[in-house]
C-alpha cells in the first residue's frame, strides 16, 4: 500500500465514532489533569490508563495519546495563568507567558500556544509518518547487540539529563534495573526475588510504580510542602492572536516544530529539552533579545511548538524500535503491552491499522484541542481555583482504584503506596525518579539482549565492539557517562538540566 492509502486507512480508523469519542474524552481529561497543580503528563497517563484497559487496543491507545497531549496543553495553561508549570516541559512557557498575562495579554499567549501546538503537532505527525517506517525497516536488521546498545544509550542519556547529581541519577537507574529483574525470568522460567508472591511473579508493574512515584509521591510532597497559588484573575479577553502576533510567531513556530521533532527522537526528557533549546534559539536569533522574559510572544510560540512536536518525535523510537525514549513513552509501552501489543521493528507492518490510526488520531486530537481549549479556558481557570485540600483526596482515590482495576489485585495497591513513600523520600534526598522508571522498563529488554548477545558470541564481550551500530551507540553512551566528570563540560550539562521543578 502506498503512503496515501495508509493515511486513508488511518483516517478510516481514527474517524470511527467510538475512536473519535474516546479521543475527545482523552483530550478533555488530559487537559483537566494537566491543569491540576503538580500533575504532569506522567501522572495524567498513569492516573487515566486504567480507563482504557477494557477498550479495544486502537481505541485505548488513541485515548491515551489524547490524554498525553491534552495534559501537555493543560500544563501550558497553568504556566501562563499562574506561573506554575504543570510539567517540566512548560517551565519555559512561564518566562514570557506569565509576563504576557500580567500585561493583560493572557488571551494571546494562550491562543498562540494552542495554535503553535496545533501546527507543531501537525508537522510532527507528518514527520512521524515518514520517519517511523524507515527506522522500523532499518531496525529489522538489528540483533541483540544493537538492542543492548540502544537501551544502554537511552539510560545514560536520561541519567545525563536528569536533575540532581549524575551519581544520584545513576544510582536511581541501577535501582530501577534491579527492580526490573524481579519476577519470572523470560529465558529460563526461573523466579527471581519474588519470595513466593504471586504478584511479583509478573515483575514490578510499570503502572503501580509510575503511579506511586509520580502520583502518590507528588501529592505527598504537595501536602508536606504546601504552595499558595494566586490565579490570575483579570478577565481574559481576545483569545485570538492579532496579525502582529502572527507575524512575530510564524517562524518561531516553524523553527520550534522542526527542532522539537528531531530532539524528540533522541532518548531523554525530550519535550523539556526541546522547549528550552527553542527558547534559547529564538533569543539568539531575535533582533531584540532583551525583550525575552518581559512577555514577548516569540518566547511562548517557539517553546510551545517545540515541546509538542517533540511528543510526535518521541513516538518514533517506541513504535519502530520498541525502545521508549522517556518515561511517558515507557508508560505508552506499558499500555501497548497491556493490550497485548509488542512495539518493535515489526509493529508497523503487523498492525498498520493501529499505527496509522493512532497517527491520524493525533492529528484529529490536536484539532480538537484547538477547538476545545479556546472556548474552555474559563473552565480551566475555575479548575485552577479548586483548593488543593479538595483535590488531593480525589487524586489519591484515583490512584488507588486505578491500580486496583489493573488486575483486581489489592497487593498492587501496596506496591504503589510503598513506591510512593520511597519516591517521596528519594525526592527529599535529591534523587530524581525518572531514571528509575525508565530503567525499570528498559531493564528486561537490556538483560535479554545482553544474554542473547553473549550466547551468540560464546561469552565474548567483543561482540558489542565489532558491530558498527552497536559500537557507535555504546561509544555515545560512554561519552555521556564520562563527560560529567570533566569540570568544564559539567557546567554545560548543568545549564541543560535547569529542569528543576521546585
Amino acid at each position: 500500500m502506498d503512503i496515501l492509502g495508509l493515511i486513508a486507512l488511518g483516517f478510516s480508523v481514527a474517524l470511527e465514532p467510538i475512536n473519535l469519542t474516546f479521543c475527545f474524552i482523552g483530550v478533555v481529561l488530559g487537559t483537566l489533569v494537566g491543569v491540576l497543580p503538580g500533575l504532569g503528563p506522567v501522572a495524567a497517563l498513569s492516573l487515566l490508563l486504567p480507563l482504557t484497559f477494557k477498550m479495544p487496543p486502537v481505541t485505548g491507545i488513541i485515548m491515551l495519546a489524547g490524554i498525553y497531549y491534552g495534559s501537555m496543553y493543560g500544563g501550558s495553561t497553568t504556566s501562563i495563568l499562574v506561573n506554575i508549570p504543570g510539567e517540566s516541559a512548560s517551565i519555559v512557557t512561564c518566562l514570557d507567558g506569565y509576563q504576557m498575562a500580567r500585561k493583560g495579554r493572557a488571551g494571546a499567549a494562550l491562543g498562540i500556544s494552542a495554535f503553535g501546538s496545533f501546527i507543531a503537532g501537525t508537522l510532527g505527525v507528518i514527520g512521524l509518518m515518514f520517519f517511523a517506517p524507515v527506522l522500523g525497516n532499518a531496525a529489522l536488521s538489528f540483533g541483540p547487540p544493537e538492542f543492548f546498545a540502544l537501551t544502554f544509550l537511552g539510560l545514560t542519556l536520561v541519567t545525563y539529563l536528569s536533575r540532581g547529581g549524575v551519581t544520584k541519577a545513576l544510582i536511581m537507574a541501577v535501582l530501577g534495573l534491579i527492580a526490573g529483574t524481579i519476577g519470572m525470568d523470560p529465558v529460563t522460567g526461573l523466579q527471581r526475588f519474588t519470595y513466593g508472591s504471586l504478584t511479583l511473579m509478573d515483575g514490578m508493574g510499570i503502572v503501580p510504580v509510575a503511579m506511586g512515584m509520580f502520583g502518590v509521591a507528588e501529592v505527598l510532597h504537595n501536602i508536606a510542602f504546601p504552595v499558595s497559588t494566586s490565579v490570575f484573575t483579570t478577565k481574559i479577553r481576545g483569545l485570538l492572536p492579532n496579525l502582529q502576533d502572527w507575524k512575530d510567531s510564524f517562524w518561531p513556530i516553524i523553527r520550534g516544530s522542526v527542532l522539537g521533532f528531531f530532539v524528540g527522537i533522541l532518548p531523554g526528557p525530550s519535550s523539556t529539552i526541546a522547549a528550552f533549546s527553542s527558547y534559547a534559539a529564538e533569543k539568539k536569533i531575535s533582533k531584540h533579545p532583551e525583550r525575552f522574559g518581559t512577555g514577548t510572544i516569540e518566547g511562548v510560540a517557539g517553546p510551545e511548538s517545540a515541546n509538542n512536536s517533540a511528543t510526535a518525535g518521541a513516538f518514533i523510537p517506541l513504535l519502530s524500535l520498541g525502545i521508549p525514549a522517556n518515561i511517558t513513552m515507557a508508560l505508552f509501552m506499558g499500555a501497548l503491552m497491556i493490550h497485548g501489543i509488542q512495539p518493535g521493528p515489526q509493529f508497523i507492518g503487523k498492525h498498520p491499522d493501529l499505527f496509522w490510526g493512532i497517527m491520524t488520531s493525533m492529528y484529529i486530537g490536536n484539532a480538537m484541542l484547538l477547538g476545545l481549549n479556546l472556548p474552555l479556558i474559563g473552565m480551566w481557570v475555575r479548575v485552577l481555583k479548586i483548593p488543593y485540600t479538595i483535590l488531593f483526596p480525589l487524586i489519591f482515590l484515583f490512584c488507588v482504584i486505578g491500580v486496583y482495576s489493573l488486575n483486581n489485585n489489592a497487593v498492587e495497591i501496596f506496591v504503589m503506596l510503598i513506591l510512593g513513600v520511597l519516591g517521596f523520600i528519594f525526592r527529599q534526598a535529591g534523587f530524581d525518579a525518572a531514571p528509575f522508571l525508565l530503567a525499570l522498563v528498559l531493564g528486561p529488554i537490556m538483560e535479554s539482549s545482553l544474554r542473547q548477545a553473549l550466547i551468540m558470541s560464546h561469552g565474548n564481550l567483543g561482540i558489542f565492539f565489532i558491530r558498527p551500530i552497536s559500537v557507535v551507540l555504546i561509544g555515545l553512551g560512554i561519552i555521556f557517562l564520562i563527560t560529567p566528570l570533566i569540570p568544564s563540560l559539567k557546567r554545560k550539562r548543568e545549564q541543560l538540566t535547569v529542569t528543576d521543578e521546585e
Binding site: P50, T188, R192, A224, T389, S405, F414
Partner: protein
C-alpha cells in the same frame, strides 16, 4: 544535604550487599551462558561502587556552608494520609468499595485541613458512587464487600 547523602549512601550500600547476597543464591551461569544471577549480581556491584562514590563526594564536601538538611515539611499530615491509604488497602476488599472509599475520602478531607462536614460528605459519597458506576460500566467490578454494596 551532606548528612542526608551520607545516610542514603550507607543505606544504599547495605541494600547492594543484600542484593548481591540474594542473587548469589540463584544460578549464576557462565559468560557463555549467563544465568539469572548474572545481571543482579553485576548491578549490586555497580550500586555498591556508586554508593561509595556518593559517600566520598559527601564527605569531601565541607560542612561549613551546610544549611539545608533533609526537609520533611508537614510530614505528620502526609503520614496521616499514608496511614489512611494503607488501612484502606487492607480492608477494602472485605468492607466493600463504596463504604471504604467514602471512609477513606472523609479521613483524607479532614486530615489536612478541616473542610466543612457537609462538603466532605457530599463529595465523598458522590465521587465514590460515580467512580463505582464508571468502572462498572468499563467492565471492572469492584468488591461488594460484607454489606453487598
Amino acid at each position: 544535604m551532606r548528612k542526608t547523602d551520607v545516610i542514603t549512601s550507607l543505606v544504599l550500600l547495605g541494600f547492594a550487599v543484600i542484593v548481591a547476597e540474594e542473587s548469589l543464591r540463584l544460578p549464576f551461569g557462565t559468560m557463555r551462558l549467563p544465568g539469572i544471577a548474572f545481571l543482579p549480581f553485576l548491578l549490586s556491584v555497580v550500586l555498591a561502587i556508586l554508593s561509595l562514590a556518593l559517600l566520598v563526594q559527601a564527605l569531601r564536601r565541607h560542612g561549613g556552608s551546610e544549611t539545608k538538611g533533609l526537609q520533611v515539611g508537614l510530614w505528620k499530615k502526609a503520614g496521616l494520609c499514608l496511614i489512611a491509604l494503607f488501612v484502606f488497602a487492607f480492608i477494602f476488599e472485605w468492607l466493600g468499595y463504596v463504604i471504604s472509599t467514602v471512609l477513606l475520602l472523609v479521613v483524607l478531607f479532614r486530615a489536612v485541613e478541616p473542610v466543612r462536614w457537609w462538603l466532605v460528605l457530599v463529595i465523598a459519597v458522590s465521587s465514590s458512587l460515580i467512580t463505582y458506576l464508571v468502572f462498572s460500566l468499563l467492565g471492572t467490578p469492584f468488591p461488594a464487600g460484607l454489606m453487598g454494596i
